[in-house]
């Protein structure tokens, strides 16, 4: 058990319960269960096609599980439409960066606050006093996040012209703007070089500590997962293969077999 888990007792922040996903006869996920506790960095690993992204998409409600349940603070998220996931504190980034390319960095992050603010088209058109106040709060928050992620210099740049690494930070900033309790990161190290992966690992840990967040890290990059995760879940062929501390999972014979192939082959 990690320190984070011990501190929080036994009620998980997010619970994945026996989730299965079937796509027309192909079982993408088969009865996967695990818990995420507050303050944890949970690494979800597995070879290609293991079901990592499928599980990720169930959490952000892009896929509907065929059976099983996903509970956020004890309440099922499966009855919520995708646009009502942000408001219960689940934020995400995308595997190949899904920003709004024609908007500025600031506006991208401003969209991140959408779930935490309210407005209607008439008040917006008339720029009523309460809209001006709400926009001022949004701007303050956006500036704070941009400063935190060292993005102030590019705040007014259009996103499409920025380097890939910077775009990934903008995506992170956008996710943080929604004040998530859980941050789902889909292969954040993809496309980064060795040096950048190291910096990213540091950043994820810093975000968890400074902003009291829980992180689900879906990642190919073993080095990153093993160095920053408190707890690791390994998937293969849609099933949970092993679960435990990074050291335990790394030593698990099934995991070694899945990654390196068995001796008999």
């Amino acid at each position: 058990m990690t320190q984070a888990q011990l501190a929080q007792g036994n009620s998980p922040l997010l619970a994945v319960r026996d989730v299965s996903v079937v796509f027309g006869g192909i079982v993408a996920l088969n009865g996967v269960s695990f818990d995420m506790h507050k303050g944890q960095i949970l690494g979800l690993i597995g070879p290609n096609g293991a079901g990592k992204t499928t599980l990720f998409n169930c959490l952000s409600r892009l896929y509907q599980p065929s059976s099983g349940d996903i509970l956020m603070e004890g309440a099922s998220i499966l009855t919520r439409p995708p646009h009502r996931i942000a408001e219960i504190g689940i934020g995400r980034t995308f595997q190949n960066v899904a920003l709004f390319p024609n908007l500025s960095v600031m506006d991208n992050v401003r969209v991140g606050t959408h779930a935490r603010t309210s407005s209607d088209i008439i008040s917006d058109s008339l720029r009523l006093a309460w809209i001006r106040r709400s926009e001022a709060d949004v701007n303050k928050k956006v500036h704070e996040i941009l400063a935190y992620l060292d993005l102030e210099d590019v705040a007014h740049n259009t996103v499409s012209g920025l380097p890939f690494g910077t775009q990934k930070r903008v995506e992170l900033a956008r996710a943080l703007a929604a004040d998530p309790k859980i941050l789902l990161l889909d292969e954040p190290a993809g496309g980064l070089n060795h040096e950048e992966v190291y910096v990213l690992g540091d950043l994820i840990r810093r975000i968890r500590d400074d902003r009291h967040m829980t992180v689900l890290l879906v990642e190919h990059h073993m080095g990153l997962v093993m160095s920053i995760a408190d707890h690791v879940v390994a998937l293969n062929f849609g099933k949970k293969l092993a679960e435990g501390t990074p050291a335990q999972v790394q030593a698990d014979p099934d995991v070694i077999k899945a990654y390196l192939g068995s001796k008999d082959q």
Binding site: P82, A86, A98, N102, D107, I121, S125, V138
Partner: protein, 339 residues
């Protein structure tokens, strides 16, 4: 039809490259344009004033399409249908129910908003050229719907309705044309300012987020279906007001004035003005009003061909329309100031 599809394809590319910051004019430019709009009619003949009024009205209709396409990324070749509904509501209320012309405009706007919002529901399942086709169907159907027998008592059927031109109120010493111009200017300016506010607000950001990436927008909490239909409603509502104004200015409504040619003209105006750049809407409107006349001046027999060549030149030389011209001249002025 192939021409329309080409226009759609052209528009699609233009949509990809609209940064939000470049959506309006600078303060100085705005004031100069406003001053010109206020002063010019004082020295112009009635016919020119009428044409300027029509420029403002078409500009408003193009602006409405710009909010839909440039803002939320949805295409419409059916704007003429909303324009027709607005025009008929104003005409019928004025002539059959004796309601003041100024009061008919909000009614036209609200009803067209509802109409657009409802039409936006089935349109949710379509995107790109398919959405353009569905709206095209709406534009094709509208003139015939307006001729329906059971509506004839109000709409005047094929004959249409003659609308009385309003006089200047409070004994103001100006002609009908000039009064109508200033009345239109006030309405158009107000809607322009509201539109700029809207696109800069939380709702406007939601529109543009949807335009750029629906899945990401949805995971940030944007209700994609709601905002897409709202964009349709807002666009249709503004188009309805433009239609209402046109009924008053032209003093006549008839079913065949609101056919697919009008819808394509509005689309053309948007592309020529620059997709997503609101001030460009009025440049685009000037293009669709004046360039056919210029073409006719060059060659009476081949005016259509000349218009085609002129259009081709614009698309070829400035694919992003008036917005591109504005950006280039801004850079030139910047250089000039440095020297």
């Amino acid at each position: 039809m192939s021409a329309a599809e080409e226009v759609v394809a052209e528009g699609h590319q233009a949509v990809e490259a609209v940064p939000k910051r470049a959506m309006t004019l600078g303060t100085t430019t705005s004031l100069v344009v406003l001053a010109a709009l206020l002063i010019v009619p004082l020295f112009a003949k009635n016919f020119i004033i009428f044409q300027l009024t029509m420029l403002l009205i078409y500009g408003l209709a193009v602006l409405a399409l710009n909010i839909l396409t440039g803002g939320s990324g949805q295409f419409s070749l059916g704007q003429s249908a909303f324009y027709a509904v607005g025009a008929y509501i104003t005409a019928v209320l004025m002539e059959q129910f004796n309601i003041n012309y100024a009061l008919t405009l909000p009614v036209a706007g609200v009803i067209c908003f509802g109409f657009g919002f409802l039409f936006g529901q089935p349109a949710l399942r379509l995107s790109g050229v398919y959405l353009a086709l569905a709206t095209f169907a709406l534009a094709t159907a509208m003139p015939q719907l307006l001729k329906l027998n059971f509506l004839e008592h109000w709409t005047g059927g094929v004959q249409g309705l003659v609308v009385t031109k309003p006089d200047a109120p409070f004994g103001l010493p100006m002609g009908q044309d000039m009064w109508l111009y200033y009345f239109t200017l006030v309405v158009v300016l107000a809607i322009y300012i509201f539109s700029v506010n809207l696109l800069r607000s939380r709702s406007g950001r939601a529109f543009m987020a949807i335009r750029d990436n629906e899945i990401a927008a949805s995971s940030m909490g944007v209700n994609v279906a709601l905002y897409k239909t709202l964009a349709f409603g807002v666009s249709a509502g503004i188009t309805g007001v433009a239609g209402g104004l046109s009924a008053i200015a032209v003093q006549f409504v008839a079913p065949d004035s609101y056919n697919i040619t009008l819808a394509i003209s509005l689309f053309l105006g948007m592309v020529v003005g620059g997709v997503g750049w609101l001030p460009g809407s009025f440049v685009g409107a000037a293009f669709i009003i004046f360039v056919p006349n210029i073409a006719e001046g060059i060659s009476k027999g081949l005016s259509g061909a000349v218009f085609g060549v002129l259009l081709f030149l614009v698309i070829y030389l400035v694919p992003h329309g008036a917005r591109q011209v504005a950006i280039v001249s801004q850079q030139l002025i910047g250089k000039f100031k440095k020297n």
